[in-house]
Chain length 204, copies 2
């Protein structure tokens, strides 16, 4: 029986650089996982190609797919839908290939409910570590700015609870290396692989 692939979910707060890290990962020729292209109702930006950057759909088409349960996760941002087609993900995992999603935090929460065994990686902005210094040692920011930053930071950290790994995006190359190391390590986790070795012993 074909062993299933890993579902890898890269998420994190808006603006953290998820897309940049994802592009860096897939620019490496040794990357052995499949990128699940998102679906959206927003118009293509210049240079964006249907089926490469996104699957571009009309609002009616998207809503029909929602009704049919064809989306693993979806959310609406600034009047546009974004989502992950579920068929591609299931098919690719069943083929034993790892699937990589780069999605928003809300979407990741939906995926966690459906794929609890997935590999959830939270991309952390380096600004949070800078935040501490700024707040503690400087004190030049207005109280309101500090307050808003702390609120955002708190929200981010609450989201983090749902994740298996936290990768700081201090340098794109390094963040990319960490993500790839996490995937390699997960393929060696005893709970995932021991059945392979146990199976060998069933024949006697």
């Amino acid at each position: 029986m074909q062993e299933k692939g890993l579902l890898i979910v890269l998420s994190g707060p808006s603006g953290v650089g998820k897309g940049t890290v994802r592009k860096e990962i897939f620019s490496h020729p040794d990357t052995a996982f499949e990128y699940s292209i998102s679906m959206t109702t927003r118009s293509p930006r210049e240079g964006e190609v249907d089926g490469v950057d996104y699957f571009f759909k009309s609002r009616a088409e998207f809503e029909e797919l929602i009704q049919q349960g064809k989306l693993l996760e979806y959310a609406e941002f600034v009047g546009n839908y974004y989502g992950t087609p579920v068929d591609y993900v299931r098919k690719t995992l069943d083929e034993g290939k790892d699937v990589f999603l780069e999605i928003e935090v809300k979407g990741a929460k939906q995926v966690r409910e459906k794929f609890p065994e997935g590999l959830f990686i939270f991309l952390m902005p380096p600004s949070l570590s800078e935040l501490k210094n700024r707040i503690v040692t400087r004190g030049t920011e207005t109280e309101e700015i500090i307050h808003n930053r702390m609120l955002t930071a708190r929200e981010e950290i609450e989201m983090m609870e749902l994740y298996d790994y936290v990768v700081e995006n201090d340098q794109v190359e390094l963040a990319c290396e960490r993500v790839k190391a996490i995937v390699m390590a997960e393929h060696c986790r005893r709970v995932r692989v021991e059945h392979r070795y146990k199976k060998l012993l069933e024949v006697e």
Copy 2:
């Protein structure tokens, strides 16, 4: 407060190539963990240096250290003691450095009891995967040999239960890469690092 280092334990059945993988790991200039040198009562082999390959001790010295609880783990093989001095391990971990042990399966079991939070990596012989083919498709081995191989394989797999990761030593370079990926990934595990980010929010 200084964050503690990770205790990395590489073990596996005798003859699997633990020493070769360990040497390969430490031949890389970017390896950022400390090797904990074992202590033994056996005589130095040609070229072996005290304090580099082993700490060479007399039987009386070794037994005194056992009495004093100065060994994290120890075992006797073919009339000689082998063990890990505990002081170096604790001191280095307290300094925030990762410590790497390459030890026998029995020793790893002792370490697991004292450092349940350690990172336990089981090095798997590729011969076990070959074993299956040999047993299933050929049938040229005597029943006794097959039986003994299966017994050994069973013992190995029972030991595996105590480990976090299983690394197949099919190619030394690849095994080494997997071990390093595991250590990098563990440094990103949410349960290990979230306190860092949470701490940032205590100041407000």
